[in-house]
């Protein structure tokens, strides 16, 4: 029993772990609620009386006890799952009442702690008598409680409580205080930087070489970096004592942390005199340690005994554990957590070498914290779902690997020789390593929120996720080749100028208000949006994106392949690749893949269905009907019937319809294979290790111009542009003239973008990444042939841009997030989560003409 200190005048101090289930034990009237109120936050305390009231409107209704405890256990479970300390205020004097609470603590891998309030029966009775609601409670109940409590005292620890504090008498209770203790595994306040080192297994020479390579001089890093060992320092290798000496001294001097491996654990048991089998290299350790002093062995024993199963570091962003750790165990304390940290999770099966088959926990890992571990030798350390195994089998002749954190750089040294013959060949454990493990429905389905760096949490509604799931599953390209979807773009505020619905004045004004002076006007191409992922070769596609065969992808706004025939896609990718190579961009951008945003023309290539059923159909119907209408009206007029107004109006409508037909025809031309197909890239989105979303547009366009120049096939097309200063009326006028000229020749319009690409307002709000100004003629395709008629225009001016703008910003933030995650080499599901979010938001209800 840990009665931590003897009663003193200033009162007992009770240490209570920050994440634990605290069970108050005491008879009715022993003062539990008062104690709880005094020492814990109100929200931490769950009282059975309160729960009784919740289910029955009467806190003393004993018939509601069963339901009340169901509620109490349920809430406690939710709190513990969320990692919140919970205090249960119920009598809990019977073992039967405590058992489910201990179970609950175990289930959530937190410490159960008992605080016993042992108060004489008379005092309890006195207190109850003073309470109106309990005055009638029979004395025998208190007597029974006290008796049961006394009986329980001796075996509380055996029941499973990890700490038991017994407070005797009203005075001791009155004077006691509670201090919150951090868990030993909680080192979130340490931010490093760290060098996390994989399984050493007695390879002292390699360890020294690696430490040297990492910059350590005699166990100390001049820049104050800290080494973190993932365990398995001992066994198999040539110099376990040397390794222990080095690591122990670094830990002692505060230059290193160390978590235990299963090999330390077993050796520790040996040192404590337990019988263990001298297998898997333990014999070597024992033999080597025989030559050391008894004092050193004692030190080693204490060192091993003091090791904490795993550490949570760097504000919770990093977890180090020998055999890895699922998210729900991070920072938890239980035998189960320790067992997982030491041994990992096994399926119960054994493989052909007689070794246990491990459960692929990393494959299912979806946590935010990076988990760095060792334990299973792999040929090469690679990230999988934000976890990485650093055991590269140095003792088997592989390498000793370290991970620099937060840089996420790998540093390794080769083994000097094979020190120990492996039982089985090294291979990557993570199943599907390069097949790319499929995504999980839980990553995308239902109502959810996606955390973004640029705009916080973005919520996605269930019905939108459902629609996105259907399109993503049935029509999209392989998600591994779909690392981005373009956001929707808001149009400019509705024009004030006569005869226009959209006009650049408003776009320039909007940026001026947002404090953006320098903008670029880019010609809006008359095609369909296309995103291209181009890999340098099939090998890159395989190694970086995990696909066998394709060398990239070319897809639409909703992630569908642009061409049904993969060979056509490859042909385009090949032309892009050739241009990238000729322009020297691989080297210049230090990459072997490139993601770019583009417009593919003609529009008729992809939208032919829509063209036929809607646009051309309207053209055909109007073309067929007006000659007859006009002839009839002219006939009537010739007979002297007064149809002047009607005739003029129909002539006007006929002209509008003809203008409409002319407008959509500009988007159509006949193509033969790739002849006639044009691709106009306008932004480089990402390359290896970098998102280019923040690269200023002039630099972007300069790179793209070079790409276009070096395309010998006529596929690539440049984007015309004009730079405008929104604060200079002269420059704004030039911008307007440029747009008038562009659209006057039948152009679709332009997109105005802040030159600096990723910009925030003074108050920190994200600025729209682009505003479209569509041409007057083009808008006939959107608002109908007759939209320019004054009475139509007047009504159409009432459009509601707010939701579209908000949607554009949310999709933009998700797109940026996808690119950032891609650049950081985050796992597929993380990138896909953001990409899926964009698709889901695209199905939100918003005026489709905006």
């Amino acid at each position: 029993m840990t009665e931590t200190s003897t009663p003193m005048r200033q009162g007992r101090v009770l240490p209570v772990t920050d994440l634990s289930l605290v069970v108050l034990i005491g008879a009715s009237g022993s003062g539990k609620s008062t104690f709880a109120r005094r020492h814990f936050k109100p929200t931490e305390v769950l009282s059975s009386d309160f729960c009784r009231g919740l289910v029955s409107d009467d806190e003393n209704d004993q018939s509601a006890t069963r339901d009340a405890f169901d509620v109490l256990h349920y809430i406690a479970g939710k709190r513990l799952a969320a990692g919140r300390r919970t205090v249960v205020d119920a009598t809990s004097v019977q073992q039967d009442a405590r058992r489910p609470l201990i179970e609950l603590a175990k289930q959530h891998d937190v410490l159960p702690i008992a605080i016993v309030l042992d108060v004489p029966e008379e005092v309890c009775a006195e207190r109850n008598a003073a309470r109106t609601d309990r005055a009638g409670a029979p004395r025998r109940v208190i007597r029974r409680h006290t008796r049961e409590l006394r009986r329980s005292l001796r075996h509380l620890e055996r029941e499973g409580f990890r700490k038991v504090h017994v407070l005797r008498g009203a005075e001791e209770i009155e004077n006691a205080s509670v201090v919150t203790e951090k868990r030993l595994n909680d080192l979130t306040h340490l931010t490093g930087p760290f060098d996390i080192i994989g399984d050493v297994h007695g390879c002292s020479a390699e360890l020294e070489t690696l430490l040297g390579k990492l910059g350590y001089v005699d166990g100390v890093h001049p820049e104050g970096r800290k080494a973190v060992f993932v365990g398995d320092l001992v066994d198999r290798g040539p110099d376990t004592p040397g390794v222990l000496r080095r690591v122990m001294s670094m830990v002692k001097s505060g230059n290193a942390l160390c978590v235990p491996g299963n090999h330390e654990n077993k050796y520790g048991r040996h040192l404590r005199g337990r019988k263990v089998r001298h297998t898997h290299g333990l014999a070597e350790t024992i033999a080597q340690m025989e030559k050391e002093s008894e004092e050193f062995r004692q030190e080693v024993r204490e060192f091993i005994d003091g090791l904490v199963s795993h550490y949570v570091l760097d504000g919770g962003r990093l977890v180090v554990s020998h055999a890895g750790l699922p998210e729900k165990y991070h920072g938890r304390t239980s035998g189960r957590v320790r067992a997982h940290a030491l041994y990992g999770d096994t399926t119960g099966e054994t493989d052909e070498f007689g070794l246990p088959v491990r459960h692929p926990w990393a494959e299912e890992y979806r946590g935010r914290a990076a988990v760095v571990y060792g334990h299973t030798p792999v040929p090469r350390a690679t990230w999988l779902n934000n976890t990485i195994c650093l055991d590269t089998g140095v003792v088997f002749g592989g390498r000793l690997t370290a991970l620099r954190w937060p840089e996420r750089e790998l540093v390794d040294v080769p083994a000097e020789r094979v020190w120990y013959e492996p039982v089985k060949p090294l291979r990557t454990e993570a199943p599907g390593g390069h097949d790319g493990r499929p995504l999980d429905l839980g990553d995308v389905h239902g109502r959810r929120g996606v955390e973004t760096r640029e705009a916080g949490r973005i919520s996605i509604r269930e019905e939108n996720a459902a629609a996105a799931l259907e399109v993503m599953s049935r029509f999209a390209v392989d998600p591994r080749l779909l690392p981005y979807l373009p956001p929707t773009m808001a149009p400019t505020a509705t024009a004030r100028a006569d005869g226009y619905l959209e006009h650049p004045e408003e776009a320039f004004a909007q940026y001026r208000e947002d404090g953006v002076a320098r903008v670029v006007c880019e010609e809006k191409h008359m095609g369909s949006r296309a995103v291209a992922l181009v890999c340098r070769d099939a090998k890159t596609a395989r190694e970086r994106f995990g696909v066998d065969g394709p060398t990239g992808s070319l897809y639409t706004r909703t992630g569908r392949p642009f061409f049904d025939d993969p060979a056509v896609t490859e042909e385009i990718l090949d032309r892009l690749r050739t241009a990238i190579t000729a322009a020297g961009l691989w080297t210049e951008l230090d990459t072997d893949w490139l993601l770019l945003d583009a417009e593919l023309m003609p529009w008729s290539l992809k939208a032919s269905g829509l063209l036929r059923t809607q646009y051309a159909a309207v053209g055909a119907a109007s073309g067929a009907v007006f000659p007859d209408v006009l002839a009839a009206l002219e006939g009537a007029a010739a007979r002297g019937v007064d149809v002047t107004g009607l005739l003029d109006r129909q002539r006007g409508r006929a002209a509008d319809a003809a203008a409409f037909t002319a407008a959509y025809r500009r988007y159509c031309w006949t193509t033969e294979g790739l002849d006639g197909v044009r691709l106009a890239p306008f932004q480089l989105l990402a390359v290896r290790g970098r998102s280019l979303a923040g690269l200023p547009h002039d630099e972007q366009l300069a790179l793209i111009d070079r790409l276009v120049e070096h395309d010998g096939t006529g596929l690539l097309q440049t984007t015309r542009r004009l730079y405008v200063d929104t604060t200079d009326p002269e420059s704004v006028r030039a911008g307007v003239d440029w747009w008038l000229e562009l659209t006057g020749r039948g152009g679709e319009g332009m997109v105005v973008k802040p030159l600096e690409a990723l910009v925030r307002t003074e108050r920190g709000r994200l600025v729209q990444p682009g505003i479209k100004c569509r041409g007057r003629e083009y808008l006939r395709i959107i608002y109908g042939p007759e939209y320019t008629r004054p009475d139509n225009l007047a009504r159409l001016r009432q459009r509601f841009l707010q939701h579209k703008r908000s949607l554009a910003i949310r999709e933009y933030a998700l797109g940026l997030e996808a690119l950032a995650r891609l650049a950081d080499g985050e796992p597929l599901w993380r990138v896909h989560e953001a990409v899926f979010g964009v698709l889901a938001l695209e199905s939100e209800p918003v005026d489709p003409r905006l």
């Binding site: 772990t17 990890r162 700490k163 030993l184 654990n265 199963s309 304390t333 030491l342 096994t346 099966e349 599907g432 499929p438 995504l439 999980d440 429905l441 839980g442 990553d443 389905h445 939108n464 459902a466 996105a468 259907e470 399109v471 049935r474 029509f475 392989d478 992809k606 063209l611 036929r612 059923t613 809607q614 051309a616 159909a617 053209g619 055909a620 119907a621 009907v625 209408v629 002839a631 009839a632 009206l633 002219e634 006939g635 009537a636 007979r639 019937v641 007064d642 009607l646 409409f660 025809r665 395709i781 608002y783 109908g784 139509n792 939701h803 698709l839 209800p845 918003v846 005026d847 489709p848």
Partner: protein, 533 residues
């Protein structure tokens, strides 16, 4: 939105009598306000020999959109229910029919107070509709009008003369001529048949008006050889269209984002399923006699497939069954009939398919005990799904061919690698058999959405490699008549999990022993952590 009615006459029976019949004076241009816009009636020619009345409906396209009920946030009109780019202002659609009935209501009823004898007389009539939307093309136009006594000229209108490769539009230039019909009959024909040919977007027309349209069919509709088509285009489609439109708004928007038609994305449910339970789409429905039932009545291939699946499931002893890609729930319905299947989970990626399945199964009216056996939920087979673990059997009936080949490994992993039911049944078309479908052009797949169709060898190769990778045994069964040359129309693979992988009861046992052993190994580690904390 425009049509002309011409009649010819003589000095004794002047053509201008048309003015009396229509109750509109030939020397005036008159405007009438109707529910769909302003209708104008005027006469481009009017003398004794020849008189033509023109009906011109000016539809206000902006009002049309803004009137729509589907409002997005901020009061803006939502999605494709309402398009500003719309043929309504130009084509002779149901709107024109409504205008016709309101402007010429007495003529339609055959009433003429000034000249009561006129409506009963047949006269030479020529009706011209320059832009008539005609789903079914000139052929259907002729089939609809010719039996009523019209001489029909129906010329298709090309979509765009500049792009002849696009072919014809859905519009025809229609001319009807007859000497034997009264004007009232002619108007009633138009009134009913214009919307039938238009056959679209009935949400423009209120249900009340649809009923009126049907009343106008009295006297000629019952004997019409295309009566079924005429009535079904009205009755069967009007509710489902509006319902369907509401159910798929999210997909409509995604299609719009991609400049595609919604049917390109929203094609998980065959259109027939909306109206006719158990309808089968595509070539398979067209080819009867694929198998014979006990009474010699042909049994559809789909029914034979379900039989084969249920038989295989019974043999496997499965009680808890997944129907992955359950579509409209036909198999779920079949499985519910056998109580040995205690838990049936239908999973589909299409929310609309699931809605229809729930409707078909009458889930909301099913008894609790029965309802407890069945669950329908959205899921996707290219994502792993924890909720699919632990079932006895999974059925993938006509599912894999709806997936692009590069995404098949994801399905394979989700089903065989993660869900790992003891039995997996996979059915898919046998491409070799396609030559036996009379209605299927050579080289075509059976369903528009089939991404591939495999021969027996291809399917066998895939199935064997899947079985090998994931520890299953696999066998094959024909479904439908097993043609000696090309095999059966449907092929089915039956996968059975190999017992040796340590799954099942013995596996659990070994896991427990293993845990006990590990607990021994850990020894006092539990206490260890306690003191550490």
């Amino acid at each position: 939105m425009f049509l002309t009615i011409t009649t010819t006459g003589t000095a004794e029976r002047p053509a201008t009598d048309l003015g009396f019949l229509l109750h509109k004076h030939p020397d005036k241009a008159q405007a009438f306000s109707t529910s769909c816009g302003t209708a104008h009636v005027l006469y481009p020619e009017a003398d004794d020999q020849r008189c033509t009345a023109a009906l011109l409906l000016e539809v206000d396209p902006v009002a049309l959109v803004r009137r729509g009920k589907g409002k997005g946030r901020g009061g803006a009109p939502d999605a494709a229910l309402a398009q500003y780019v719309n043929d309504r202002p130009y084509a002779a659609s149901s709107l024109l029919a409504v205008a016709l009935s309101s402007v010429f209501s007495s003529a339609l009823r055959g009433v003429c107070h000034a000249r009561p004898e006129l409506p009963g007389q047949a006269s030479p009539l020529r009706i011209a509709v320059p832009a008539l939307p005609a789903r079914g093309g000139p052929g259907l136009v002729r089939r609809l009008f010719e039996p009523l006594g019209w001489t029909v000229t129906a010329e298709p209108v090309p979509l765009d003369e500049e792009f002849p490769e696009w072919g014809d539009s859905r519009y025809v230039r229609l001319e009807l001529e007859s000497d034997s019909l009264t004007l009232a009959e002619a108007l009633r024909h138009l009134y009913v048949l214009l919307p039938v040919l238009d056959d679209a977007k009935h949400y423009w027309v209120t249900s009340e008006e649809v009923d009126k349209l049907l009343r106008a069919g009295e006297g000629w509709l019952s004997g019409h050889p295309e009566q079924n088509l005429i009535t079904s285009r009205y009755l069967a489609r009007r509710w489902s269209l509006t319902r369907q439109a509401k159910e798929r708004l999210e997909l409509v928007r995604l299609a719009e984002a991609d400049d595609s038609e919604v049917d390109e994305l929203d094609n998980a449910v065959a259109p027939e399923a909306e109206t006719e339970a158990g309808a089968e789409a595509g070539a398979e429905a067209g080819a009867a006699g694929t198998g014979d039932g006990a009474e010699g009545k042909p049994v559809s291939l789909a029914a034979q497939r379900r039989d084969a699946i249920v038989t295989a499931l019974r043999e496997s002893g499965a009680a808890r069954v997944l129907d992955l890609g359950c579509g409209e729930g036909q198999l779920v319905q079949e499985l519910l009939k056998d109580t040995r299947f205690t838990e049936i989970v239908g999973v589909d990626v299409s929310v609309r398919a699931l809605t229809i399945a729930a409707r078909r199964l009458k889930l909301d009216r099913m008894g609790e005990r029965q309802a407890a056996r069945v669950t329908l939920r959205q899921g996707s087979l290219v994502y792993t799904d924890k909720q699919l673990k632990g079932y006895d059997a999974a059925v993938l009936s006509e599912v894999i061919e709806h997936l692009d080949l590069p995404r098949l490994p994801a399905l394979e992993y989700a089903v065989f690698g993660t869900a790992r039911p003891r039995t997996v049944l996979v059915t898919t078309p046998n491409a070799e058999y396609n030559v036996r479908w009379e209605t299927l052009p050579a080289g075509h797949v059976r369903h528009r959405d089939h991404r591939f169709e495999w021969t027996r060898a291809q399917f066998g190769q895939w199935a064997h490699s899947v079985a090998e990778r994931h520890g299953y045994d696999v066998g094959f069964r024909p479904v439908g008549p097993d043609d000696p040359e090309v095999g059966p129309p449907t092929q089915m693979a039956v996968f059975t999990l190999r017992a040796t992988r340590g799954e099942g009861a013995s596996g659990h046992e070994s896991r427990n022993t293993r845990n006990d052993k590990r607990r021994d190994e850990c020894g006092d580690e539990d206490e260890k952590e306690a003191t550490a904390a």
